[in-house]
């Protein structure tokens, strides 16, 4: 399972990376915004994308839209981990095809639950 973690703050990437490692996902890579992440996704065989929303360059919501427009990435499971908490934003992310939405600050248990749920749905 190869996972791409996208966040402009290195500490948040590290937190997500450590939590994923505790969950048994050790094959992770990092990007600091959508512009860096998109070519990585297009050229790599990633199985899962965890992205923040508010980033310079390309935001997470725009990255999500690009992923859903891309023939090869269309079905990639995407989890949004973000401080954006407006109902309108959550609805927009859902309409853009997000698979899960976690608001910051979050707990390890919440992240675990959402990831497991996404894989249950994807595999089931």
């Amino acid at each position: 399972m190869k996972i791409l973690i996208v966040d402009d703050f290195s500490t948040m990437r590290r937190i997500v990376k450590n939590l994923l490692r505790d969950l048994g996902f050790t094959n992770t890579q990092e990007a600091d915004d959508g512009l860096t992440a998109l070519p990585m996704l297009q050229n790599g065989d990633f199985d899962f994308l965890v992205t923040d929303w508010n980033m310079p360059g390309m935001t997470g919501i725009d990255l999500l839209k690009k992923v859903r427009e891309d023939e090869r990435l269309r079905t990639l499971p995407v989890l949004m981990v973000t401080a954006e908490a407006k109902r309108e934003q959550i609805v927009t992310a859902a309409q853009a095809g997000v698979n899960g939405y976690v608001v910051k600050p979050f707990t390890a248990a919440v992240l675990k639950e959402k990831i497991e749920k996404i894989f249950e749905r994807v595999e089931g």
Binding site: S10, T11, A85, K86, R87, Q89, I90
Partner: protein, 260 residues
């Protein structure tokens, strides 16, 4: 600019305009339209003088406001310390401190994790052999090895737990950023509040000039850019907003109402 001064000036202008208008009417009634036309240019002159006077006042007020904002005007050497530059430095300091603290804490946790895992794994393994001893299921040489291993384990444990204790203390110390950045953020809040107050008075001043000169602004309709209608806003700090979810449960409820 004080209101008393302003109303005196307004009265002066009004009476000047009234006198000119009355004279114009008089000239027309007396059959001297050319004189009346000449008075129109006098009227214009009053308007221009008023305008210049207001512009002069506005320029002085603007200069004061800019000085009060503590922003270096163009032409001033860039190394001159301004309030705004100082504020940006302060915020950069907050960013630096929080980043350093978060990384220090995570470094210490990363160092501590394998130590705790090692203590746990060895205790688990020794516990298995200890149970065999209690069940009298241990050979004499196995017993000798067990006592030696337990001794080493206890010795190691003293050393390792001391190390973890020190790491916990360092994690505590790494939280000092909260105090330091808090003080800086308070200063920035004060500055922003002050700047806002001064900007409001600047807007009021500009509004007054508009009124005197009769300038009208055409406000363009706010254009909603469809692509950017949804903007990232960052963490919400207020608790009384109804359009903002307050926790993960709210997010889950909203998503499940959308069929997730």
């Amino acid at each position: 600019m004080s209101d008393i001064n302003q109303s005196t000036i307004d009265q002066e202008i009004s009476s000047e305009i009234r006198t000119l208008a009355e004279n114009m009417l008089l000239e027309l009634e007396q059959g001297h339209p050319e004189n009346a036309v000449a008075l129109v240019s006098d009227l214009n002159q009053v308007r221009e003088e008023t305008l210049y006077r207001e512009i002069g006042k506005l320029t002085r007020a603007l200069h004061e406001a800019i000085k009060n904002l503590k922003v270096s005007p163009s032409g001033v050497a860039p190394d001159v310390e301004s309030g705004m530059n100082g504020t940006m430095d302060k915020l950069a300091y907050v960013l630096h401190m929080t980043d350093r603290s978060a990384n220090r804490t995570m470094d210490l946790v990363d160092e501590g994790m394998p130590i705790v895992s090692d203590i746990h794994d060895r205790a688990e393994e020794l516990s298995g052999r200890w149970k065999k001893l209690l069940q009298k299921d241990l050979k004499p040489d196995e017993f000798r090895t067990l006592t030696k291993d337990i001794d080493t384990y206890l010795e190691d444990n003293i050393e390792k737990t001391t190390q973890i204790k020190n790491e916990f203390s360092e994690i505590l110390l790494a939280q000092d950023f909260q105090d330091l950045t808090g003080q800086v953020i308070h200063k920035v809040i004060d500055l922003v509040r002050d700047v806002e107050k001064r900007l409001v008075s600047l807007v009021a001043m500009a509004g007054h000039v508009d009124r005197i000169t009769g300038i009208q602004h055409h406000h363009e309709e706010d254009i909603v850019d469809e692509d950017h209608k949804i903007r990232a806003e960052g963490p919400h700090t207020g608790t009384d907003k109804t359009d903002v979810v307050s926790n993960q449960d709210d997010v889950d409820d909203l998503l499940s109402s959308l069929g997730f």
